[in-house]
């Protein structure tokens, strides 16, 4: 009995390790074939607002609390875009940080008020375990993000 259990545990471990390095799908399957450069979305957000896009890049940050968003590094330096999913719809693991992601979703461009920016900034800072200085918010700001539907992390 003990031997059987040990063999089962070993098989489980091997299977886990075998799958550990593979790419992993989250949410719905990717349907688009053509990728859009994140830099293009950020340069002309109004052109992409409401459009479904497929983007690729490194995962540079992950929501540590609920895994409900990731930040994807742009093809252009010093730029990234947040891919937000509905809570519980997809749970991105922290271990995705630094891996490459292929993600599909709808671009959303919103102008948010100073008050809402402060609320959002405080919320994200709490999630990230950092601090937020409200005095850095000067006025209304345009937020460009992708409402994520599906992703492949590899």
């Amino acid at each position: 009995m003990k031997i059987k259990f040990s063999l089962f545990a070993l098989a489980l471990l091997i299977a886990t390790l075998a799958f550990a390095g593979e790419e992993k799908n989250y949410g719905t399957d990717i349907s688009l074939k053509e990728k859009t450069a994140i830099a293009d979305i950020l340069a002309s957000p109004e052109l992409y607002n409401g459009k479904q896009v497929l983007v690729e890049g490194p995962v540079v940050d992950v929501c540590p609390e609920r895994g409900c968003w990731i930040k994807i590094g742009s093809n252009k330096e010093f730029e990234s875009i947040r891919l937000k999913v509905d809570d519980g719809e997809i749970i991105f693991p922290m271990d995705a940080k630094g891996k490459n992601v292929l993600a599909e979703g709808t671009v959303s461009v919103k102008t948010i008020s100073k008050e809402d920016q402060i609320k959002q900034g405080e919320h994200y800072a709490k999630e990230e375990g950092t601090t937020f200085d409200p005095s850095t918010v000067k006025g209304p700001k345009t937020i460009i993000q992708i409402k994520g539907m599906g992703a492949v992390i590899k």
Binding site: E65, P93, M94, K97
Partner: protein
């Protein structure tokens, strides 16, 4: 021959109870952990450490990365490299991120370790795997409903649903109802 419904009721309660014991522990333990997510991270242990290196003086991206790795004694190739702004370099390794402030040499080292077992429990509880797990979770929910219903009719007499059981069940009904009224109108 009469159908002994109470006997079957009790058999169902007992056997379903055995079947869902493990899942109940998973959902219960994870429920406690996730319920307090505002106070702690139930999935990961995140440790932050600050180290100081000499300022990075290189200018090209590859040179900056090479210099930062050299100063931090990082022999392994990073998984990825990112510059969120001109003054910061992020080096990603498995479970560890180095954020280097290039002009000052201040480095934030963030290590992320999953809370083993609890992480897996939370993933199942929050239905992260989706697919077949959705149906297993549905079955579990139905089993819990059947446990509640069969549980009420296990005993007869003074301790059954017509006696003590009625009072305890009524208290169990009042707790969510009263709380909801308080939550809505207070």
């Amino acid at each position: 021959m009469t159908f002994k419904w109470r006997k079957w009721n009790n058999i169902l309660h007992r056997d379903i109870g055995y079947l869902i014991a493990a899942l109940t522990l998973i959902y219960g333990i994870s429920g406690l952990a996730v319920n307090h997510a505002a106070d702690w991270n139930p999935n990961y242990k995140i440790e932050k450490e600050f180290v100081k290196i000499d300022p990075i003086t290189s200018t090209g991206r590859d040179e900056i990365v090479a210099e930062a790795r050299k100063r931090l004694n990082l022999v392994d190739e990073p998984r990825n490299v990112f510059r969120p702004d001109r003054e910061t370099l992020q080096l990603f390794f498995e479970g560890k991120t180095y954020s280097v402030d290039l002009p000052t040499g201040n480095v934030l080292v963030e290590s992320t370790t999953p809370r083993r077992v609890l992480f897996e429990m939370n993933q199942l509880h929050l239905n992260a795997p989706k697919k077949a797990w959705t149906y297993i979770a549905d079955l579990y929910a139905l089993s819990l409903i059947s446990m509640a219903l069969t549980g009420m009719f296990m005993l007869r007499g003074k301790t059954g649903i017509t006696g003590r059981g009625a009072w305890l069940t009524a208290i169990g009904v009042l707790v969510p109802v009263l709380y909801w009224l308080y939550y809505t109108f207070a």
